[in-house]
């Protein structure tokens, strides 16, 4: 066991998979000598050579499009997109090709790639460096979408993605890249995609969240004097609706927390599913604490935008009191 940050856990997962499987290669902007702008790939080019850790031209569609080719040829490319705000130019290759190749060819060609992308706000970054576009990719059939909130989960889920036969988007909440450390086994291990983690148990209300917001939820729950169950979805497609259902059937109340804009965000889907599955158990409408339907403001105001412990705490109170 080692006490690792999220960044270190991801780096470790990459090292271990690259050692084990020479089909794994990394590509992206500044991932080589520089080790990525967040240093997630630090040391990897030195260790594995510049044919396995490749600095590419500055072109996100090119990074994903060539990764699709690499993957169709049987390799396991791990492209990095530098910030979630720059997934935009790659949207078409991801959604028109990566997500469709298997079904288009009825299994003849497959695209086992894992896109790594830092995600979310709270780091005082410039515009387009603080967004949360996960709903877009959850809505696109054919992709898997993962967003861990802890070093331990990050390692196990990243290894799961790297071994998955289908295209995965691995969102890395940059706000907690180095926010805390956790014991992470040095041996490799795989966490299944599609299984949530119950962070803490409780009876009054269920909180469902993912990514860096999970940390805000933990703080809000700690500050509250309700018995709250916190579910970290961890993987967003497929997602563990059964865990949510079990919990909400027990508590009868639920608050969903995410950074992305509320309207047509993934919280709406979870809320709708809870209604579908737990209708007769619900004692209050499911509430969402989310980003507003505005552009994430520049950093002077970003904390006004992000769900914080105060807003989450209030939602818990109101929902319990309903």
């Amino acid at each position: 066991m080692a006490n690792l940050t999220l960044v270190q856990a991801i780096n470790l997962a990459l090292v271990q998979e690259m050692e084990k499987d020479d089909r794994v290669l990394l590509l992206g902007e500044d991932v080589g000598l520089n080790g990525g702008v967040f240093r997630v790939t630090e040391g990897l080019q030195k260790r594995f050579g510049d044919h396995r850790v490749v600095d590419t031209p500055l072109a996100e569609s090119g990074i994903i499009g060539t990764s699709i080719g690499l993957a169709m040829a049987g390799l396991r490319p791990v492209p990095e997109i530098q910030f979630e705000g720059f997934l935009g130019p790659a949207y078409d290759q991801l959604c028109s090709h990566a997500a469709r190749m298997r079904t288009r060819t009825r299994g003849g060609l497959t695209v086992p790639l894992t896109v790594r992308v830092p995600v979310g706000g709270g780091i005082h970054a410039p515009e387009l460096h603080s967004d949360s576009p996960e709903a877009i990719y959850i809505h696109q059939p054919g992709l898997k979408v993962v967003m861990p909130s802890s070093p331990y989960d990050a390692k196990g889920l990243l290894i799961a993605c790297l071994r998955d036969p289908d295209p995965c988007i691995f969102f890395e909440p940059k706000r907690i890249y180095r926010a805390f450390r956790e014991e992470v086994p040095e041996d490799e291990y795989v966490l299944p995609i599609g299984v949530a983690r119950t962070v803490c148990e409780g009876d009054d209300l269920t909180v469902v969240s993912w990514g860096a917001s999970v940390v805000q939820c933990m703080q809000a729950i700690e500050a509250s004097n309700r018995s709250v169950e916190l579910i970290d979805l961890r993987t967003l497609y497929p997602f563990d609706m059964d865990a949510v259902e079990r919990s909400v059937k027990k508590t009868g109340r639920c608050v969903i927390v995410h950074e992305a804009p509320k309207t047509a965000g993934f919280g709406g889907e979870i809320a709708a599913r809870i209604m579908e599955r737990c209708f007769l158990h619900l004692e209050a409408p499911v509430q969402r604490v989310a980003g507003f339907d505005t552009i994430m403001p520049y950093y002077k105001l970003e904390l006004e935008y992000l769900p914080d412990t105060e807003r989450i705490g209030k939602a818990i109170e109101e929902t319990v009191a309903y």
């Binding site: 690499l70 028109s96 599609g194």
Partner: protein, 370 residues
């Protein structure tokens, strides 16, 4: 010296067998053996005939939208002829002739346009990717495929086809740029057929040649008469040798013409003159080879008649195979989504005929007690 020369270049154009039957022996002799020439001619004839048949299938409601290849047979055929069997062939949708030469069962193409994904389920030994619908996107896949063979120290390369319109897309640029800067052996073959649906070539590229697109990347480039099978073969040999030896990409502009409508959904008379079509009809790549073979005395009218008969039979057999396939299994569009069907998706599949409530059969059975 205040003004110096930073860069200088020129681009060549190759033509070996022109529309008047003139044949350049220096470049042309020995390029394609007589036996091969006959075989290639037969490939083109089959492809042309299938185009006709497909058109009729569409008109009679037996097939969806179909893009004819008519007039452009020599480009992809010449490429497939030169490539090795394990080189990736990454095409768009006007390369039937090259694909059939590679060995793709022609009914696969018909199935695709009949709205059936099984048309894209292709024997991996063929090293062929499926028809690419979003214009300009597949060249990046070719670059990735060739990169994989470089990564593995294999000698396989990739050859990708696209139209003049496709060269306007950003992905075209990124594919060229990746291949040039990361030293990836891809042959980029542009079929400049002068039109992208109704939009004329100069709106896609107002430069004197499309070939010069490659100069932006320091990539070797050449233009050829794309209706001249010999010129195509000549350029493909140069390109593939370069790619294999130097590990570098190469660009070919094949100047050709779309003799038909864009697709069966199009009516080209709305936007282009018959004069232009007539001019290019005279430059037909098939006629040219036929006349050349006749001049070589390896072809005559009776062979032509026999071929016509054979091609007729073959195309009906192809149509029969395409239409004779069992109806698709409507589970397939669920089960082919992922290697392992996620539980939630399985539930959608399983309940799609029985219920829509929360996709959860248990709720319906006991609605009040769930």
């Amino acid at each position: 010296m205040p003004i110096t020369t930073a860069f200088q270049t020129e681009i060549q154009r190759v033509s070996i067998l022109d529309e008047h039957g003139q044949f350049d022996a220096e470049l042309g002799d020995g390029l394609i053996s007589n036996d091969d020439l006959v075989r290639l001619y037969e490939d083109m004839a089959l492809c042309r005939k299938l185009d006709e048949v497909a058109f009729k299938l569409q008109r009679s409601g037996r097939m969806g939208t179909y893009p004819q290849n008519m007039g452009q047979e020599a480009t992809s055929l010449g490429a497939a002829y030169v490539l090795n069997q394990d080189d990736w062939l990454v095409t768009c949708y006007r390369e039937n002739c090259g694909l059939f030469h590679r060995g793709l069962p022609p009914e696969k193409i018909l199935l695709h346009w009949m709205g059936d994904e099984r048309g894209n389920h292709i024997d991996p030994e063929l090293c062929v990717t499926p028809i690419a619908v979003p214009i300009g996107t597949q060249m990046l896949h070719a670059t990735g495929l060739a990169w994989a063979s470089k990564y593995r120290n294999e000698s396989r390369i990739a050859c990708t086809f696209f139209g003049d319109g496709a060269t306007s897309e950003g992905d075209f640029h990124e594919a060229m740029n990746f291949a040039a800067n990361l030293d990836i052996p891809v042959v980029f073959f542009c079929q400049n057929n002068h039109w992208a649906i109704s939009v004329p070539g100069h709106i896609q590229c107002s430069a004197p040649t499309v070939a010069q697109r490659a100069l932006a990347y320091g990539m070797d480039t050449i233009q050829c008469d794309g209706n001249d099978l010999f010129a195509v073969v000549h350029c493909m040999k140069t390109a593939t040798e370069h790619a294999r030896k130097e590990g570098r990409p190469f660009f070919i502009e094949g100047v050709t013409y779309r003799l038909g409508d864009h697709t069966t959904a199009d009516d080209a008379r709305r936007y282009r003159d018959q004069d232009e079509v007539d001019l290019w009809t005279e430059r037909d790549p098939i006629v040219r080879i036929r006349e050349h073979m006749k001049s070589l005395k390896i072809w005559d009218d009776s062979k032509e008649a026999q071929l016509a008969e054979r091609v007729e039979e073959e195309t009906s057999a192809i149509v029969q195979r395409a239409e004779g396939i069992e109806a698709p299994n409507d589970d397939d569009f669920f089960t082919s989504m992922y290697a392992d069907l996620p539980a939630d998706l399985r539930r959608q599949m399983d309940t799609r005929r029985t219920s829509s409530i929360g996709e959860d059969p248990s709720q319906i059975e006991n609605p009040q007690t769930a």
